[in-house]
């Protein structure tokens, strides 16, 4: 069964350096790092102290609020460093990998088991960390019952990894994961795929498929939720990244936690953009230098896409949820009369002497320059052009800024995640940090309302 979702509002930002569809095995990383900050709002309780030997899939730490929720090591090896920040907060857990990988064996899971057993299995094996919930865009509370579960199989963000390509041949794993997830809800599992795609997600059982078309953010899971079954007060929905279904599926089918992932290395700074087979938490230096960038180049490395990814240093690590590493030039230079001269080499959704509207198919080489300074909100109406959700973007941002919880709730705060505001942030002439504002607003609500 498939339905159509068409988005009109939005903006496709076409960038140079899309990954070519070939997969290489990345150099095996010696070190893997898990950062608790990837699991927003989770307070970790460390199990594997420094010097502990762990197998792949063995618990590193658990959620302080729910001991059953484990977070596990992506590889087997030795925990060589636990980096701590202020107030002994755990910043990162570094694992030196063994040459020969050994796995914790959870055993093949019986897919006909009930929801409780499945839940316990996912919690214990570390796979729960891939399930996120809305409201608040955090890891799903284990005791919540989602009214529906959403998966986006269509990546519309700039330079995103093509999910049709990276998930090819993984139908069995995807099906296993979707079958397991479908036990948790009566509202069904909803999957979006590209309208013209040949997605391995298109024909899964126990799920409803939607063909989405239109500009970014048509592929965001937030758009899918809003169009299919928006979150109301008191309700919860879950969302899982398509590439993470593979890890869940493999665990269910084989009993192994194998966080292998096909990652795109993309961006205008990369000599030969392409895909790598690697594991989450591995060093990005294992991928970026071979036919990629020069050492000490003036580039921005992003774990994730250019709109909502995390900035990492060249010696940093692939974060827990990303399947793309974007590398674009740093724009830390001045531009003479940048504010009034005609602009041909940058993207804009206005026509104020900006000419990207003339060449809708041109690919751009954008840098990280702000193209201006931070200001109060001034212009109106431009966010709505790129924001397809039935929410007033500027009003909800302002409500977050002045911390009016009632208004935030009324305007639809339960439905949104920071990434939904990536495009409004991109086009904002006042250069306001929309995603940060929304994140802070969600955190405030989580704290006050819970």
């Amino acid at each position: 069964m498939s339905k159509d979702i068409k988005i009109k509002k939005g903006l496709d930002i076409k960038l140079i350096g899309e990954a070519e569809q070939t997969v290489e095995n990345a150099i095996v990383s010696n070190f893997y790092t898990i950062k608790p900050e990837d699991f927003h709002s989770i307070i970790p309780k460390l199990v594997a102290k420094q010097g502990t030997r762990v197998k792949a899939g063995e618990t590193l730490f658990f959620n302080k609020d729910n001991e059953a929720m484990k977070f596990v090591s992506p590889v087997s090896g030795e925990v060589t460093e636990v980096q701590r920040g202020p107030r002994r907060r755990i910043d990162a857990i570094k694992i030196t990998a063994d040459k020969e990988q050994t796995y914790v064996d959870h055993g093949k899971f019986d897919l006909s088991a009930d929801a409780e057993k499945t839940k316990a299995h996912l919690l214990a094996s570390g796979c729960w960390s891939f399930i996120k919930q809305r409201p608040y865009d955090v890891i799903a509370k284990a005791d919540s019952t989602p009214k529906a579960i959403f998966i986006s199989g269509y990546a519309s963000a700039p330079l995103a990894a093509d999910l049709d390509f990276t998930l090819t041949g993984k139908e069995a794993e995807l099906q296993a994961a979707v079958t397991a997830l479908s036990k948790f809800t009566t509202g069904g599992v909803h999957i979006s795929v590209g309208a013209n795609s040949n997605s391995p997600l298109a024909n899964l059982e126990n799920a409803t498929t939607y063909k989405v078309s239109g500009p970014h953010p048509s592929g965001n899971v937030g758009t899918l939720i809003n169009k299919v079954n928006p979150v109301n007060k008191g309700e919860t929905v879950w969302a899982v990244n398509a590439q993470d279904l593979v890890i869940i599926g493999e665990l269910l089918l084989t009993g192994k936690f194998n966080p292998e992932r096909i990652v795109a290395l993309a961006g205008s700074s990369v000599k030969k953009p392409r895909y790598f087979r690697t594991k989450l938490g591995s060093e990005i230096s294992t991928m970026i230098y071979d036919n990629g960038v020069e050492r000490d180049s003036n580039d921005r490395f992003i774990s994730g896409n250019v709109l909502s990814g995390k900035r990492v240093q060249p010696d940093g690590y692939l974060d827990y949820y990303s399947n793309v590493i974007s590398v674009i030039p740093e724009g830390n230079d001045y531009e003479l009369f940048g504010w009034n001269k005609p602009v041909f080499d940058k993207v804009s959704n206005t026509r104020a002497l900006t000419f990207s509207w003339l060449t809708p198919n041109k690919k751009y080489d954008l840098s990280t320059n702000m193209n201006g300074e931070h200001r109060n909100f001034v212009l109106t109406g431009n966010y709505e052009q790129v924001f397809p959700l039935d929410i007033y973007p500027m009003q909800i941002l302002k409500a977050c800024l002045y911390k009016d919880l009632d208004e935030m709730e009324a305007l639809g705060m339960y439905e949104v995640a920071p990434e939904d505001f990536a495009l409004t942030e991109f086009v904002c002439v006042s250069k306001q940090p929309h995603q940060q504002i929304i994140r802070a607003g969600l955190d405030l609500m989580l704290e006050e309302i819970g």
Binding site: L15, P230, N232, K233, G234, E235, R300, V306, L307, S308, K310, R311, S326, I328, N332, D333, Y334, L336, F337, G338, W339, N340, V347, S348, N349, T350, R351, A352, L353, T354, S356, S367, T368, N369, M370, N371, G372, E373, R375, N376, V378, L379, T380, G381, N382, D390, Y392, Q395, A410, G412, E425, F426, V427, C428, V429, S430, P433, H434, Q435, Q436
Partner: protein, 408 residues
């Protein structure tokens, strides 16, 4: 070490000091800063607020230049030294160097005072409050010379600009926070603080006031009439300008608002660049036409006869209202100010329509003060948040209803 490097070093030197905003304001005019995106999106669209404001200024420049020619033209025409235009928009009587140079030397000081004083206040507030100098005044400073009479004394302008920027904007926290359009606040201040100067039939043509004074002192020269079309209509005098004169803008009025043709082009430019809201412009025009048409119907029905003091303006053909007075200018450049207008798309329709509607109503019913668009916009500025509130409530109610349906 080039200019870029020198300025960069200076910027680093001033960083964190009181003078930083003042220095940055000048620096960023030369160079877009080297700031890069931190968290959030790592790439940003090409537009910033300076570019946005600059686009509006570009749309205003033709009006300013036309205003310079028109100032001279109205003066020499009233003095009887030149003939009226004879051959359309490009008439040589109008586009003469003589006209331009009189207007230029008359308007330049107004422009300098407007920008000098306004930006001075902005810089002062930026330094005191430690925020960056915001670009809002770039447009306000250009709007002000275009909406004042040519013979305005400069000291009056200074007082008004200070009032407008401080009370109209800075007390609320600067650009983006203000409730009233600063340029209109300045004009409203002028008109209510100095009514004898700012209304009547003298100030609109350069030299008219002075000539009146000379006559009073016993000079035998002819008086110069500086009456605007609205002024004479309000007194139920006839209009001796053709529709084309009004459309092209060869009429007395505030400096930059006479040429409906150039305002129309400016408006189309703003719509094309997506800087000005077409919703506001279109709905305001509709509102004005509807109100004007209602008045035409009232006259046609015979409820108002030519003995009434409202007859002159009510009987004006409804679409002529768009050509005379500051109506077109107000709709295109003032009503569309994003900060003080409605912020929701639906709200913009209501807001614009009411501006047009109320403008014509004030225009007709208030003959003592024949231009209504300024007051209409200021009034709607005050009501814009209310309009938005109800539009947003629509969205909120839909959300609540959805939740109720679920639980029911």
């Amino acid at each position: 070490m080039g200019l870029k490097q020198n300025l960069h070093n200076l910027r680093e030197k001033y960083k964190g000091t009181k003078m930083a905003p003042a220095f940055n304001a000048i620096h960023t005019f030369l160079y877009t800063p080297n700031d890069t995106a931190h968290g959030g999106t790592h790439i940003k669209a090409a537009d910033d607020l300076k570019r946005t404001m600059n686009t509006v200024i570009m749309a205003l420049i033709p009006c300013l230049i036309f205003g310079m020619f028109n100032a001279g033209y109205q003066h020499y025409l009233a003095a009887g030294e030149i003939e009226a235009v004879s051959s359309g928009f490009f008439s040589s009587e109008f586009w003469s160097l003589q006209n331009f140079s009189l207007g230029f030397w008359k308007i330049l000081p107004i422009l300098i005072v407007s920008y000098g004083v306004g930006l001075g206040v902005e810089f002062l507030f930026a330094v005191i409050k430690g925020h960056e100098v915001e670009e809002g005044y770039l447009v306000t400073g250009m709007l002000v010379p275009l909406i004042v009479p040519i013979d305005i004394p400069l000291w009056m302008l200074v007082v008004a600009v200070i009032f407008g920027v401080v009370i109209g904007k800075e007390v609320f926290g600067g650009t983006g926070m203000n409730i009233l359009n600063p340029a209109l606040t300045i004009r409203a201040f002028l008109f209510f603080a100095y009514p004898t100067w700012m209304s009547g039939d003298k100030v609109w043509v350069e030299g008219a006031v002075e000539r009146t004074r000379e006559i009073a002192n016993g000079s035998t020269a002819d008086a110069i009439s500086g009456e605007t079309i609205l002024g004479s209509l309000a007194q139920s005098h006839g209009v001796d300008y053709s529709v084309m004169d009004m459309f092209f803008g060869f009429i007395p009025g505030s400096i930059g608002e006479t040429s409906t043709l150039l305002i129309l082009l400016g408006g189309l430019f703003l719509i094309f660049t997506k800087i000005g809201s077409w919703r506001i412009m279109l709905s305001a025009v509709l509102g004005a036409l509807v109100m004007g048409y209602i008045f035409n119907l009232v006259v046609a029905a015979g409820w108002i006869t030519d003995t009434s003091k409202f007859y002159g303006l009510m009987n004006t053909e409804f679409w002529h209202h768009l050509l005379i007075g500051g109506m077109a200018f107000g709709i295109v450049y003032m009503a569309t100010d994003p900060v003080t207008a409605s912020q929701t798309n639906k709200g913009k329709w209501i807001y614009g329509f009411l501006i047009g509607f109320i403008s014509i109503m004030i225009r007709v019913f208030n003959p003592a003060y024949p231009e209504g668009v300024m007051l209409a916009i200021l009034l709607m500025n005050v009501f814009a948040p209310t309009i938005d509130h109800y539009v947003v409530q629509g969205n909120v109610k839909r959300r609540l209803k959805r939740a109720k349906l679920k639980t029911a």
